[in-house]
Symmetry: D3
Subunit: 230 residues, 6 copies
């Protein structure tokens, strides 16, 4: 890739940021569709970032604001699947919102995690499941909020708090729709970030933090090295 | 109502505004739950504004972030029903998002309107329906974008543009979930605002704007005076 | 145009957006002047977007912040003329404001429209004219606010509401100055967007929305097809 | 004043701030009119702050968005008069813009100052005058930009930079309209803040800063003590 | 406490939020000092929130912007001490920044945590210590960044990422200054939130998340129940 | 430099702006490191702007978030030295904060100036020094706030106000750490901007503004022409 092109591409990374920094949902145009079909996007993908290059407005059409998905075909189970953030849905670029369809297998769960850039509001389409979040540090912090949701119920997870959901039923899946207040909410899965980081966090530090023997930490980290799946 | 109380209440109106102005989704606390169960809220409701008084954090519980809704019981048809904006869902206060469940009767529609404060992302739970939006004025503006959505499909309406949806099928309803990027998106239904305003807009102005005889305008406005339903 | 150049240009479209998203009026430099005199701008113009490429700060001079206009020479009548948004005034780029000089011929009007991205504050230089706006949907919504303005009077139209102005006098023009709280406020002229969209909105939908016979809608749309002027 | 009332009032000061902090121009309602006619406002005025208490929306009318001003009657000369910031125009509350009509007597000037919270865009209604601004510190900073404006000309002063205007003509006044991108732009008149502060700045510090003898500074400060006019 | 007063106070909680939501650092006045010395603040403190009631500007003095701290007297060791967020420093209210002085005893550490509302920039005054942060989930996420800092060195932790610091030296303390880009950054200590929440998180969920036997989780949670110190 | 490259570079200037405009501290990625080591950066430096090109995330490492500085080696005296704004510290890009280490020689001072884009919070590491700021124009404006700071003391300067610091001691230096709430706060040194601008401000204007004879102004400006040091 020629230097000129390279810098052109990396300038898009800056764009990603500058667009994201601005949480104000009124762009200077009606829309700025991410041009994912352009050849250079492949290079960007290799760079692990979506390009956020605006398509020529004259070439934009309704399909840019559309994403087909079959609710009858469950997505992979055990973990959430964000179905339409800006990485997968070019029309969301600069519009400050995203949507996910989530499937939970029987006894499946979405482990404790945070979304650093969005509040999440979730509604249940099928089944019964449990939602939880933990507040931040204060004299009364680290308080667990818990609720059971049935079909049609709605719940909101405030931005930044650690939260999780699980399907306690042995023989029925759960289907839910989650909307997030950012075109790219981000996610930090706690266990993976703390015990599965590359390279691993010092066992001495984690032993102190979790108030256990270093041996326990070593073993926890070993689990993640073996079967690490994000 | 004593002056003191009155000013206390109106100060809440200012709060509503100041909270809304801030589109940044990171509040200074984990949450600020709207205290709708307080006696003063009744007065506020009479004043046609939700209070946005934060509940004592120690009194907040999971139910504040929960809204029960039965997807099997359709909401009233022919028009959209925003099921959980901050007016109806105290936990959404300051969190920058809201969610609506929408039902369309056979041949029902959600007439052309705008949301001045939010982008809308919609997904279909049942049925088939048509979505449209029109871009703003430019040399190539007022362009209509159209798409047919089936179960599971997702579509996004950029903030501020005129948009609408309708169910073209004679014998099947449509159920959809819409998420909006504001705790209180607002709505302006074009026909009602232009032909049903109180008092009515001058017929001469509308005749020029719509390029018709004043008589046609008079008649259009008469329709709205008779069967005005918001 | 070589692919490299093309992507360079479209990256500017993204810039437009990212700059707009940010409504905060403090840029990282004193200014970022739109470089409209650069050759590539022609390509951008063909793409129907102003480039928002910052001029080399060393090349910026006072003329970049200046726009000549002759108040004695009226602009075209019957509709407003936004005299200095960022498309026409490079120095406004990133500065969060624009200014318009508006002329109304005798009996001229600025038809019902919205500015999705700005509040408008207007003052009368010559003549007498009428201003109106309609509030959004609520139990008490779609309320018409009306005022007559004389020379020197000031009026404000809140962001996003439908508003219009007209000169009721048969033999005197009106001259006004309007300031808007965005470098590119945008505009949606209601009648044109609803009855003049390309392609047209389904007559059945509009008939229901406006509570008239489909025939009336067909005829309204025909007017716009014939003498459409934006 | 009872403590309860006192705290109610001071809570308005916080409101002022919170509303101002948010530069996003889309409030949660169509408007939040400052209730300046309420009895408690007198107390607030004594506290040198406008209240920003929202009027009951049902009581709001077109006059709240209107300000009468007679362009034929010049305002006091020699210095600018901000004719409609939120302190004087309740309808501007939360709407992110303000407007000023400025009169310059023959040889009058608006001395070097900054607006910490707004960009200013100015247009000339009558006469000829000179505009200037100075850029901030950089290797090429503190550069003076200068322009002569005639009737109808427009000029923009970027937010935060030191700027000034003057009427060089011995026998003709200047009338201008200035719009600012904040409901309360604020102003810091350099000479008054540096040489007229209460208490005065140490003469030693100013002598070093301005590279003159302390005696010169003492004399400069004496001038301001005598005929201090803001 | 009378209902009226109660609602007055809770309205301050909303203020806290509205001020925080707005990350724009330009208030409508020069400052809005938190009035912590007012009687009602005691009630607010009981409610575990600082009041953010603006002091009468006429009563504000230099001490409101000042906080005495003796760098020779170390703060308590083993964990960080945020020395001047808005809870402890009234003048910071609405100004968008806070500062902490941090002491690490020999072998002391600040365990893995996130600041949901701020980037942290840290500089070392005395000693040598280690800083780490882990990136969020992506194909290449959960990457550990590590650095050793000596006296005078500066390091930045991007907002929202899990990070920690420790003093590896057996016989020398570390003193550091951390600045955060919010008047109230917030903190979530991972181990405490996950294993020390009240009530505890289901052992089954954590066993799956951390890929260990439920017995290990039970034991981890027991540690926290015994010697829980925030 | 080829046109293509030139426009690529200037697009970075726009990026600078768009990133700055957005004061919201949550980017769309964990970070966007300024790629200062790229060849094109030399050209950008000549253009007196840092590039804000994001490095390929895969190439980012801990050194990008690190800045070495030796607190034992004082920086140049008499004026402040901002040690780590984004121009000098690529990792700060988009993160909304910067840090400065400031040294004051005996009797040294940091002359009256403003930071248009940031609040400043300062803490003393060594010595005793004086801090001052002056409020903006109001009936009670241009008020001087003064405080003496000793080792460990903290003081905050609200955004946009004129402020300064000086070391009154004849034989001891002062060392301080200042954090600012922007990645690029900007600075306007009053005396230099008013009396040292290029070209100079008209003596007549300054004579009126400072209420002195034009001769005094001429002499003040002459001082700056001779020994101008920024």
């Amino acid at each position: 890739m020629a230097p000129a092109t390279y810098f052109l591409l990396v300038s898009f990374l800056a764009l990603v940021t500058s667009q994201a920094i601005a949480s104000d949902p009124s762009p200077l145009q009606d829309f700025c569709v991410d041009d994912i079909h352009s050849p250079d996007m492949h290079a960007l993908t290799l760079m692990k970032v979506s390009g956020f290059v605006c398509k020529d407005p004259m070439a934009v059409n309704a399909d840019d604001f559309f994403k087909a998905a079959n609710l009858d075909k469950p997505s992979d189970t055990m973990k959430s699947k964000v179905g339409s953030n800006v990485m997968q849905f070019p029309g969301l670029n600069t519009l400050g919102i995203s949507l996910a369809r989530i499937d939970y297998a029987p006894l499946g769960q979405n482990s404790p995690h945070t979304h650093p850039r969005a509040t999440e509001i979730i509604t249940v389409l099928e089944g019964t499941f449990h939602v939880r979040f933990v507040t931040s540090n204060t004299d009364n912090g680290n308080k667990l909020f818990a609720k059971v949701l049935n079909k049609g119920d709605v719940f909101v997870f405030p931005q930044g708090v650690i939260h999780f959901q699980f399907n306690p039923i042995r023989d029925k899946p759960v289907v839910a729709i989650a909307a997030l207040s950012s075109q790219n909410p981000g996610a930090i899965t706690i266990a993976n970030a703390v015990f599965g980081s590359k390279p691993p966090i010092s066992g001495d530090v984690l032993a102190k933090a979790f108030q256990v023997q270093k041996g326990t930490i070593d073993w926890l980290q070993a689990q993640f090295r073996e079967n690490n799946h994000y």
